[in-house]
């Protein structure tokens, strides 16, 4: 099955993704981002990249797609630097599976 790749985030950070052939959607508010992610998920997007600044505001929405095979909601840093939320999610996964942080 063919799927598309979407990027949601602030304009400055995600515009270059367009050059790679990804579909780019701008959002700056939590509400917009939530709508956008839900919309993309419904429309057969396989991967949704979301900037951490927005991801921080809509943890519930991200969690909703955690247990589904697709879409994969992947957090990416934006141009101001990483907020370490993506890292934190990895650590949380480890803790959930192993019982303690072994990384």
């Amino acid at each position: 099955m063919a799927h598309k790749i979407g990027v949601v985030g602030d304009k400055d950070s995600i515009l270059p993704f367009k050059m790679l052939g990804f579909d780019v959607f701008y959002a700056s508010e939590a509400k917009e981002a939530r709508k956008m992610v839900d919309h993309l998920a419904k429309n057969e997007y396989g991967i949704i990249y979301l900037t951490e600044t927005l991801g921080e505001k809509i943890p519930d929405t991200i969690r909703r797609y955690d247990s589904k095979i697709q879409p994969a909601v992947i957090l990416i840093p934006n141009h101001t630097g990483s907020l370490n939320i993506g890292k934190k999610r990895i650590q949380d996964n480890v803790e959930k599976a192993v019982g303690q942080n072994i990384l």
Binding site: A2, P16, G21, G46, I47, I69, S82, A97, V98
Partner: protein, 209 residues
């Protein structure tokens, strides 16, 4: 540990013994599943962690150079430059089964016929070298970014499954099996006791005669 609330009868004993053997078999299978899942998970999560560190670093630097390039140009120009993407990415997702967990396998094919030349498909006019650099960095990180997506999603799904498997294993190991064992012991003792009581009664009756 509390024993189950059952009547100490032979039939109940047989039933419980069946349940115990089923529970032990289930426990063994689930334990094996958990071990294998854990092995795969640890392998993947280490890779995931490393990859994310690398990708984040590269992405930030690419984005920063893009912002830098953007600040030197009119916004309208930039939009014009990226209006028609020079290449497209096709993503196909298949499902793979790791120990009965469905995880995605993502295959990417991007039209890379222009890989020998640079990916830059805009004019010299209204663009600058900073933009070239940022686009180049971006293309370089793309492959890893896509790989990261697959691994991270897989880890996410595995972690959920490991958690629920662990709960099941523990429930069987520390709750169901001891409970059954204790109840079986209790019924056996009760049956033995009533048998002895029967014999004693018979002997007493015989003595009276």
């Amino acid at each position: 540990m509390a024993k189950l609330n059952v009547n100490p009868t032979r039939m109940e004993l047989a039933n419980l013994k069946d349940r115990l053997s089923l529970a032990s078999r289930g426990h063994k299978l689930l334990k094996d599943k958990q071990d294998e899942l854990m092995r795969q998970f640890i392998e993947l999560i280490k890779k995931n962690n490393k990859l994310r560190t690398v990708v984040e670093e590269k992405l930030i630097s690419a984005m920063q150079s893009f912002v830098m390039a953007k600040s030197l140009l009119n916004e309208k120009y930039i939009e014009e430059l990226v209006a028609v993407p020079p290449r497209t990415v096709n993503l196909s997702v298949y499902e793979k089964n790791i120990m009965s967990v469905n995880v995605p396998v993502m295959n990417f094919d991007y039209s890379e016929d222009d890989s020998h030349t640079s990916d830059i498909s805009y004019g010299y006019l209204n663009s600058n070298s900073e933009l070239d650099v940022s686009i180049e960095e971006m293309s370089a990180v793309m492959k890893e970014l896509l790989e990261l997506s697959e691994i991270e999603k897989t880890c996410q799904l595995l972690a959920d499954e490991i958690e629920s498997t662990r709960r099941r294993v523990n429930a069987l190991e520390y709750r169901t099996i001891p409970q059954l064992e204790e109840t079986i012991y209790f019924i056996q003792m009760k049956l033995d006791e009533s048998e002895r009581a029967g014999i004693t009664r018979l002997m007493k009756v015989k003595d009276m005669g």
